[in-house]
Amino acid sequence: MDCKILVLGAGGLGCEMLKDLAMCNVREIHVVDMDTIELTNLNRQFLFRESDIGKPKAQVAADYINNWSKKRRELNSGAKRVLAVSYVQDLTSFEPEFFKQFAFVISGLDAIEPRRFVNETLVNITRNTGYSVCIPFIDGGTEGYKGHVKTIVPGITACWECSIDTLPSQQHTYPMCTIANNPRTTEHVIEYALTVQFPNADLDNPNDVNKLLDFSRTRAHEFGIDQTDLTASYLLGIAKNIIPSVSTTNAMIAAACCERATAIYYDLVDIETMDTFTIFNGSNGFFSHSFQYQRNPDCLVCGGL
């Protein structure tokens, strides 16, 4: 594919997307990620090794692809060159002008806000250029054995913001009176430790985590709450809102995102009638469903476009 594609995130989905796009011979793949590599990434982020822990994800991933491209050309001189460019910075620090160079933006992010930022930026580019620049935004997401792919062609299909009501609430919230006066579960005592007893805890510092665990255990004991599940790993799952993740789902969702990009690039779809929203669930057998998400005429981002 003779174009430039921007990949958002060099995590589980990002690594898979870089591989898939490199195999599609995309001329330039740019990747943005401000995170560094951790040990818990290595069960799925296959472009990284243990020796890369602590290094910036975007840079290590781009280096991998560039080395790969070089080796491939050594083995086969006819192979196309693929160039990967990395940005170790906050995605929201980019100006709209930066995005205009890309034919597609594909995201493998794990947070809502950067997706909303990119969506709004791309919709505004379409609006401000009178549709002469219209960059499709393909968004992948996973959680455990579940995933989704949303395809947004700004001003033509529903934008990311149009479907914002379909998101589940971001975290469990408990009434303060329950946490303070009537705790019944381990979640309640952990929440109290996090919000009242030790609100400034650094969750990456093992001493702080142990302190939080002590607070939680003492309180669980005080209120006669079963502590069997109350481990550091469980506490961190709640405190950091850790999303379970495995290579298999990431491989599938990244592949589905790249399929969307190639289908649009090669004009295999009619973008006005194509399905724009696909959900996948592999928890019970395997299930996928695609449909066209309708534009919201009152959307605060793409309304009126």
């Binding site: 591989k19 898939d20 490199a22 195999m23 599609c24 011979n25 040990l39 818990t40 290595l42 069960n43 799925r44 296959f46 090794r49 243990e50 790969w68 080796k71 491939r72 083995l75 455990g144 009434p175 329950t178 006066n181 009537n182 705790p183 019944r184 579960t185 209120f223 006669g224 709450i225 079963d226 790993s233 850790i242 999303i243 379970p244 993740s245 495995v246 290579s247 298999t248 789902t249 491989a251 599938m252 592949a255 589905a256 790249c258 399929e259 289908a263 090669y266 004009d267 295999l268 779809v269 009619d270 194509m274 399905d275 696909t278 592999g282 928890s283 019970n284 057998g285 395997f286 695609s290």
Partner: protein
């Protein structure tokens, strides 16, 4: 284990151990195929114990035709600790030791599948990709596949309102609802207590639905409608009418299926499956005595209540569960084959009763599906044929191998770990149809 933390959160630490002891045999043509590389990569990342690559064409480093991402076997295996052995078909089919599961990748000839299924006893799953289309098919299951935890998104709780055991009945009866309503203490009571008192005086022969229950709640507590526990009682009114039969139906069906398929089976090659089968037999024996009921404290949801009343409620569940585990363990120990089953496995099994599942045995019936893509050229909605013809096919169809590679790896993991429900037949992937 920290490296695998994110996936252990999907299937649990025990399943990860099972995975790390497992052996997967992959039948394929050569390792240069994208699908083969994807499956090895995914299983390696998950840390499957060992993989035997059974290839028609065995090569050393360097392939004449490599359409995959990894340019050599060594780059494919870099960073993963799974033990990978490469061998040829005849050696493995005839002399290979038993493995956990056999997989065939991109074998188009049904005779190959017939040959492998006849000579190997293991569960057999196949995956094929052609152009953009792919198929994953469960070909053979020589023994019933028992699922320790199906991980449903939501489990309908059963509150034992129709058939409380004596301690639970005493707990429910210890509340004087009218008095609690009068002295403002009703808010402290968990909603199952409210539901119990609403339905206990129902005249014999009256059939109620959940709306009747809601109406009775409104009549009995007209001034407490905004209490959070009364709101919960209305919301979960249907649980007041759930019976032990409703609760157990699926479990009984599952046990019947396992036990009938176990008749005459003496040799099991999947040890974990064998363990689960013995536990199922023992459970069926136990459930045949009518006095036995099996609540699980883990299944009791959180609910509005004062801490001490909720703790009492939960401890009654816990005490009953402990008693049941003891009874169950005693019965289990009367079976000679139970020697290797630990008490903790028995306890885990009992606490996931409502999440057990089974796939029946499956014989290879000769129906082998391979993709039959029409291709984008024939698609009625192609807009720009010129662009399609310039499309370098092998590269741009790569995503199909990644998708199917991800899916078949996931199914292999489900079959090995006995967590989540595997595909029991065929899944077809055809992105062209989406267009």
């Amino acid at each position: 284990m920290e490296r695998y933390d994110r996936q252990i959160r999907i299937w649990g630490a025990k399943a990860q151990e099972v995975l790390e002891d497992a052996k997967v045999a992959i039948f394929a043509k050569n390792y240069g195929e994208p699908l083969v590389q994807e499956v090895v990569k995914n299983l390696g990342l998950a840390n499957v114990g060992s993989i035997i690559l059974v290839l028609k064409e065995v090569h050393d480093e360097g392939l004449t035709e490599n359409n995959g991402f990894f340019l050599s076997i060594s780059s494919m295996l870099m960073g993963i600790s799974t033990d990978v052995e490469v061998t040829d078909w005849n050696t493995f089919v005839n002399k290979g030791l038993p493995v956990s599961i056999v997989v065939t990748l991109n074998l188009e000839d049904p005779k190959d599948i017939q040959y492998i299924s006849q000579l190997r006893r293991e569960p057999l799953i196949s995956a094929n990709v052609k152009n953009e289309d792919g198929i994953v098919q469960l070909i053979k299951l020589p023994e019933p596949h028992i699922i320790m935890d199906t991980h449903p998104d939501y489990l309908v709780p059963y509150l034992w309102i129709d058939r409380p055991w004596p301690e639970l009945k005493r707990f429910y009866e210890s509340f004087d609802m009218s008095q609690l309503a009068e002295n403002g203490q009703l808010a402290k009571v968990p909603y199952p207590v409210i539901l119990y008192h609403i339905v206990k005086d129902r005249p014999d022969g009256d059939t109620w639905d959940s709306n009747d229950v809601k109406q009775k709640i409104d009549e009995k507590f007209p001034n407490q409608r905004d209490y959070l526990n009364v709101i919960e009682a209305r919301r979960f009114a249907h649980l007041a009418l759930r019976t032990a039969e409703n609760d157990c139906r699926q479990l009984h069906e599952m046990l019947d299926c396992v036990c009938s398929e176990m008749v005459g089976k003496t040799k099991w090659f999947d040890l974990y499956n064998h363990t689960l089968a013995i536990l199922c037999l023992c459970l069926k024996q136990l459930l045949s005595s009518s006095s036995f009921c099996l609540p699980s404290a883990k299944d009791l949801p959180d609910m509005e209540s004062s801490t001490d009343i909720y703790s009492r409620f939960r401890s009654i569940y816990q005490a009953k569960e402990d008693e049941d585990v003891e009874t169950f363990s005693k019965l289990l120990r009367t079976r000679p084959e139970s020697e290797d089953i630990s008490d903790s496995t028995a306890r885990e099994f009992l606490s996931s009763l409502r999440r057990l599942g089974v796939l029946s045995c499956k014989k290879y019936n000769g129906e082998y599906r391979i993709p039959d893509p029409k291709g984008p050229i024939n698609s009625p909605i192609v807009v720009n044929l010129a662009k399609v013809s310039e499309r370098p096919t092998a590269c741009n169809y790569f995503h199909a191998s990644c998708f199917i590679g991800g899916l078949v790896s996931q199914e292999i993991i489900k079959l090995i770990t006995h967590q989540h429900v595997p595909i029991d037949d065929v899944y077809t992937y055809s992105p062209d149809q989406l267009r």
